[in-house]
Subunit: 400 residues, 2 copies
Amino acid sequence: MFEIAILGFGTVGSGVMEVIEKNSDMISQNAAQDIRVKYIVDVRDFTGSPYENLIIKDFSVVENDPDIKVVVETIGGAGVALDFTRRSLKKGKSVVTSNKELVAAHGYELTQLARDKGVNYLFEASVGGGIPIIRPITQCLAANKINEIYGILNGTTNYILTEMVKSGVAFDTALCQAQANGYAEANPDADIKGQDVCRKICILAALCFGRHVYPNLVSTEGIESVTLGDIGNAGRAGYKIKLLGRAIHMDNEQIAVYVAPHLVSEENLISGVEGVMNGIVVRGNAIGDVMFYGAGAGKLPTASAVVADIIDAAKHVNARKWLSWADGSPDMIYDIDLLENAWYVRTSADTNTIKRVFGEVSVISGCKDGEAAFITAVMSKRQADTLFKELPALSSFRII
Amino acid sequence: MFEIAILGFGTVGSGVMEVIEKNSDMISQNAAQDIRVKYIVDVRDFTGSPYENLIIKDFSVVENDPDIKVVVETIGGAGVALDFTRRSLKKGKSVVTSNKELVAAHGYELTQLARDKGVNYLFEASVGGGIPIIRPITQCLAANKINEIYGILNGTTNYILTEMVKSGVAFDTALCQAQANGYAEANPDADIKGQDVCRKICILAALCFGRHVYPNLVSTEGIESVTLGDIGNAGRAGYKIKLLGRAIHMDNEQIAVYVAPHLVSEENLISGVEGVMNGIVVRGNAIGDVMFYGAGAGKLPTASAVVADIIDAAKHVNARKWLSWADGSPDMIYDIDLLENAWYVRTSADTNTIKRVFGEVSVISGCKDGEAAFITAVMSKRQADTLFKELPALSSFRII
């Protein structure tokens, strides 16, 4: 019998309970022992819940119960969740979490603390919901030097962009639809402004490149500036507009890491990742490109990743999983204004001006009256910005 | 220092050596020790090779060297490879392999033998080349009951089908191109007749459903019957034709497992898996659908999966990985003639006959003169075969 506690009985926490009950046979078999939830810690009352008798309000009961080997933190945020995680690890309990904000902000500290205490801090569910990604990177691709990782890491924004393409509705309308369908929160800022993606790409970059990437060092752009005109222009040129988190190991050993809308070629499989789904591409020096695809959020998918970590913790209760990295610093971050790629540009300038300023470009036909759009040669943002002084851009996005 | 031996110095074996040398820093770090190839066993001479001094012809040297903890079997086939694998495991050495034929035919025996000896038999590279799939199924999806797994598991046939779509060339021409480009062997039967896919889906089915599936029990159809007309008809109806290996956990606890060309909707991301790439979809009861995509073959991708297993074996030298399943038997195999789905049918019958025999169908317009094509309601192969007595089919494929 392996006893655990769940902290926070919201969507993910209750999903964890549901998966543990629904698939108990398989879970016991895979963990080689029964897993039992002994406590659920939540400040709210759950009168009438079938789990009412498990619910307690005082975390110190969990902290001081030596039978609890694994603490499942599904509180979210970096407040009380940080405190409870530290205290659990200090007591020699492994912690499993879906909390991307906490891992992105404090992952270095917490993985080191776990290492010092000989326990595990596991967070498969923090990126890509249920999509297996953390373990494949750390184990299956362990023989590769990873050169780059990028992905569609947020279902809300991908739903909005997909609706703009499929239904031809503008950003504001698509956002309303997302809220009506429960795919966006009442305050959607963390999603549409890119912060959610920022946290996830920070975690992925740390795993791939071995140093913590702090979110405040990451250039982060959301999707509010994407217009229906941009979507149409991109489509006619064979691209889809997708919000990507991206991290690249540069030749100078720095990490280029940022969040921004990109034009993705329809030849790239990730352009077919639609709606609330997520897709993540990893480029290794032996394997080439691999992609992982699935539901990036949702109660049961996320819970299934949490429970997989619980099973892993149960199997490795006396062994560290070596899931850790070195601390990060500002000097390891590449100036992305120097990162080169072709650019999509929408402008009110005419073709002659475009050719005079940008030289040979690929003009996209069929733009709306008074506008033009084109694809530049490969150049850095700094170079492009210089040219934009002579030819103001209505919008400009990187092409991948 | 962790010492290993490589058996067979062909494409994969030499790729393993290349990856170990190329990424030695990262591999040592991930394995927490240096990995050294002490022997390469091959019957051929490699005069002038930089590894000449490592090459031996006598496997018993490896067998009797207690310093060798892991044997890497990249010989292929189920002859000498089986003998050497058994003898290695019996001596308490873990074995890592890319040999799908051996795992598909003898996986039950060999995983049991490894279990009995307290060592590991690892075969991530046997399915999907470098794509992480074995470990994600057994670990990341450990909290899910898997309902179904299917995939594009053979790069040669996918290359041929892609060329038929993109270049409009017939099967024979596309096969010649594949051979000229090194994507098909001089004797391409194992690929184009589906046996290679059969072996891989047997391994995946065993992992997902816990019982060995012997290849001789699996209905296996290749791509030779796919015509350019079928490809065109499918395309106009919004489908691509893909060779899939597929295994489904049926309600009666039997496993439906087979290999056949399918019409895959363009809405399904796997339809975008083109050329020599592979893609595998796993459907879990908590996570929903997840897909894994990447190079399904090739020297370095396959070697990178082998080396990841070597790292894993080095980290778990005193711990079993629990990678095993029960034996299989014919009575666990579902009669796929009873498996229901919509069908694509090409025929020389006219529309009136089609409607008289099949009732309401979805007719595909634009077929070549004297032919018609349509999509049936959902029915089993047995039902469809009865109707084909009244309306002979020129071709018929399942729709997924």
